[in-house]
């Protein structure tokens, strides 16, 4: 990647709002809107409330993890283990509550599952972060290891079989809604908003950017680089656990193979959203747009009845186009 230094936006916003500038800044968003318009023209049901709800629900699961992944990538790291952690955390949670007999808890068993899933996710993230910082092993390797380790652990747990049989309270988290908005979508909004605030308005957020932008300068600015690094892996682990719980609630079963190859889709969301894999540049707004782009593509191509094999081709082409368009818009903006 040749254009690291100059082509990018400082991680803060202009003070006055300007539509053209906004669209040029979020070229992918513009592209997404055009894409949606295209799908809507072709298939009238695309913009139905029902379909939009479908898309958002589908997006929310990996979108939640992608928000956490943004923090990790901002530090110049990566987490390949998210898919496995998602499955592991959900399975442990579901296993414990169904194992000890859920109804006994007075209908609140799901809360226990939620807590356990999040705790497991957090813990795995902590382990990754500690190994990365203590032994200075590249995040790619540590989380690649984590990816197979937690997947293996998931398979061992219930001998590869899924755990099912949740009560309505549990299922609500995946299938319920509040004022018509599905619960997972609400969770995604909440998580994205929280992360946005953290990255943009808090000291910790600034530290994340600093560590990714120039680790040595960050250290000399008094930042505890290792603490920041561990924190971002903890965050993404926690969110993977949360997403795992929501997914199991949505599917009504916690599968051992859940989230397989999610890591790529999640990292893609982040990168499509303009966050640099080299760290220090990007943000959570772009990630949500990136996740939506993938979700819209997956849905729209099916709606248009593109044959599955061709779908893969079209999907690849459009993703590349979207990012190329984004770069072009940014360049144009730089030229003015």
């Amino acid at each position: 990647m040749t254009t690291v230094a100059l082509s990018n936006e400082p991680p803060n916003q202009p003070r006055k709002f300007d539509v053209v500038q906004f669209l040029e800044k979020y070229g992918v968003l513009l592209f997404l809107i055009l894409l949606c318009a295209g799908f809507a023209l072709h298939s009238p049901m695309f913009l139905s409330v029902r379909n939009i709800t479908n898309i958002l629900t589908e997006v929310s699961i990996y979108g939640i993890v992608a928000v956490g992944m943004t923090c990790v990538i901002l530090t110049g790291g990566v987490d390949l283990a998210v898919g496995s952690v998602l499955a592991f955390a959900a399975l442990v949670g579901a296993w414990v509550v169904t194992g000890i007999g859920m109804p006994n808890l007075g209908g609140m068993g799901f809360l226990l599952a939620l807590l356990i899933a999040c705790a497991v996710g957090t813990l795995t993230g902590y382990v990754h972060g500690k190994v990365i910082t203590l032994f200075s092993v590249p995040p790619f390797i540590v989380t690649l290891g984590g990816m197979t380790i937690w997947r293996g652990a998931t398979l061992v747990m219930n001998d590869g079989a899924p755990v099912a049989g949740f009560d309505a309270g549990y299922r609500w988290w995946g299938r319920g809604d509040v004022l018509g908005i599905p619960v997972p979508v609400l969770v995604l909004f909440a998580v994205a908003a929280a992360c946005y605030v953290v990255l943009r308005y808090t000291r910790f957020g600034r530290q994340i950017y600093a560590v990714g932008g120039n680790p040595e300068a960050a250290r000399l600015s008094g930042i505890n680089v290792n603490r920041v690094l561990v924190s971002v892996y903890v965050i993404v682990g926690f969110l993977a656990g949360l997403a795992g719980f929501l997914l199991s609630a949505r599917l009504g079963s916690a599968e051992a193979i859940a989230g397989t190859s999610y890591e790529l889709r999640i990292i893609a969301s982040v990168v499509i959203g303009g966050t640099s894999l080299f760290g220090g540049i990007g943000g959570v707004g772009g990630t949500v747009i990136g996740a939506l782009l993938i979700g819209v593509l997956l849905n729209g191509l099916v709606m248009m009845n593109v044959s599955p094999y061709y779908q893969q081709i079209v999907m690849g082409v459009i993703i590349v186009l979207a990012v190329a368009f984004d770069t072009y818009a940014k360049m144009r903006r730089g030229k003015r």
Partner: protein, 519 residues
């Protein structure tokens, strides 16, 4: 006047929000050393990058040796024409060795088309020795100090077949001895008919080696004059547009209270690590309100000691106390908490977050103070802080949201200084604080250091410019080969006395090195 080798006319260049060059011109003759002067942000580096083909210009005409230079030409095309550039910001590959950097893209080949490593190292060694550098060409660049990196850049330029060499602030990081060496090389080049464009903020150097000078101000051409008959004051007046007063002497603010105590710091060198000079039993006391200058040749261990005090590097033994309390030597975070602040010498590697905004760069270590509800950044207070320092230092910027990487070198340095000032430290260590800062701003920086001292801060100034150390410090501590060799009151210090303390008994190359045990 003979035929000009370079003729630039009406060069224009705008960046978003800034007009960097507004129709500047310049003429250089063969065998001439032509100084290019101007305040920070005047557009010097931008102009030179356009000459070098590193940046396109928006308009204007360039003639080199009678031929038109096409705007589409790349650095390699310009190099092939004989225009060789030493950029202000280094462009070295840290993981590669000195020789690899020197010959990057032009490695000597054997008959079979493969790289002739042996010859490359031999040739590199020759050039390095000519410069009196005393470095092994197999040393990876990442372990070099800033001064050494600068010398590598110069060596690299010397290996090319040049007709015009562009030097953008080549001496900003060098101490007297290296500067003299460079000047004698420049004279050799000149004798060979090679033209040189020389940018510096140390105006005495202009008098020493240059034939003519051209001044830019705010992206505009001001004047070209012969050096003969011009005084430093004349140059400054052209650059700034008014007279600048230099404060020669000032009051002293030193109190009796010892603010910083450094006792018995020793460290064995570790090959392969940056800043690896052996330190032997260093002790220094700095009182509140006192300004202590560290003087020494390149590699004497000044930076090393500063980094140890700041907790950035470890040491084998020693004690650091601030205000009577011992400070753990673990991390810069501890040092900052104890009230020690450091402006590092390498602004690109250790200072700036290049793609981030000026605001984020300036306020980062002070955020604790600038926060509300513990975790959140108080942006109003933050903006106020930036505004204060923008005014105080005259930082030239479109607004505080632009990336620091787009600032001119001198302005970046000002932001980093402001960053440390904003911390309101008890002990302030500045390593080459005025590196790349123009004369006017330099006086302002000194003024700020005095203010800090008056407020009771213990200040350590490391500078390779002896006149600067002598002008600023109350007391000067001299270093040689990782030892402290003396401590002189500013009143009794003369350049001769300092030089003898800094260099006496030094082996070839100034210091006894213990590098490249890696092999």
């Amino acid at each position: 006047m003979g035929q000009a080798i370079l003729r630039a006319a009406d060069i224009r260049k705008a960046f978003p929000g800034v007009v960097a060059l507004d129709g500047v011109r310049m003429e250089v003759e063969p065998g001439e050393v032509h100084a290019l002067l101007g305040e920070n942000g005047a557009g010097k580096s931008t102009f030179l990058k356009i000459l070098a083909g590193a940046q396109p210009c928006d308009g204007g005409e360039l003639l080199f040796a009678g031929e038109r230079l096409e705007p589409a030409e790349t650095p390699i095309d310009r190099q092939n024409r004989g225009i060789v550039t030493i950029y202000q910001e280094f462009n070295l590959l840290p993981a590669m060795t000195i020789a690899e950097n020197m010959y990057l893209g032009r490695e000597p080949l054997r008959g079979n088309g493969l790289i002739d490593w042996r010859r490359m190292y031999r040739d590199a060694r020759k050039v390095i020795d000519e410069l009196g550098l005393g470095l092994d060409p197999r040393t990876p660049v990442r372990v070099l100090s800033v001064a050494e990196q600068q010398m590598v850049e110069i060596s690299k330029a010397l290996t090319m077949n040049a007709r015009l060499i562009i030097m953008d602030e080549p001496t900003a990081a060098l101490s007297g001895k290296e500067v003299d060496k460079l000047h004698s090389i420049i004279r050799d080049l000149k004798a060979k008919g090679i033209a040189i464009i020389y940018v510096t903020h140390r105006l005495v150097e202009v008098t020493a080696v240059c034939d003519r000078f051209t001044v830019f101000r705010d992206g505009r051409y001001v004047a070209t004059r012969p050096v003969e008959g011009a005084t430093v004051e004349d140059m400054v007046r052209l650059m700034v547009g008014r007279d600048v007063e230099f404060q020669r002497r000032r009051e002293r603010y030193a109190r009796d209270h010892v603010m910083l105590e450094v006792r018995g710091v020793s460290r064995a060198g570790r090959p392969g690590e940056p800043h690896a000079t052996i330190l032997r039993d260093l002790s220094v006391q700095v009182r509140a309100g006192e300004i202590v200058g560290f003087a020494g040749l390149v590699g004497a261990g000044r930076t090393e000691l500063a980094r140890i005090i700041f907790g950035a590097d470890g040491c084998d033994s020693g004690l650091i106390a601030v205000d009577g309390k011992a400070v753990p030597l673990k991390s810069p975070g501890d040092a900052l908490a104890a009230g020690i602040a450091l402006v590092p010498e390498d602004r690109k590697q250790q200072g700036c977050f290049l793609p981030h905004s000026i605001r984020h760069n300036l306020s980062l270590p002070s955020l604790k103070r600038l926060s509300k509800w513990k975790f959140f950044v108080d942006e109003k207070a933050e903006r106020q802080l930036i505004e204060d320092y923008r005014r105080k230092f005259g930082i030239k910027m479109a607004n505080d949201e632009v990336a620091i990487g787009t600032l001119s070198g001198g302005n970046q340095q000002k932001v980093l200084l402001a960053r440390c000032m904003a911390l309101k430290p008890k002990v302030l260590i500045v390593d080459e604080p005025t590196r790349g800062i123009d004369v006017g701003a330099k006086a302002e920086v000194h003024q700020v250091l005095f203010e800090m001292a008056r407020a009771g801060v213990a200040v350590i100034v490391i500078s390779s410019e002896l006149p600067e150390v002598m002008a600023v410090a109350d007391r000067i501590v001299t270093f040689r080969e990782g030892r402290i060799t003396g401590s002189l009151d500013a009143d009794e210090a003369t350049e001769e006395r300092l030089m003898s303390l800094m260099a006496l008994g030094a082996g070839p190359g100034g210091t006894v090195r213990h590098i490249h045990a890696a092999h």
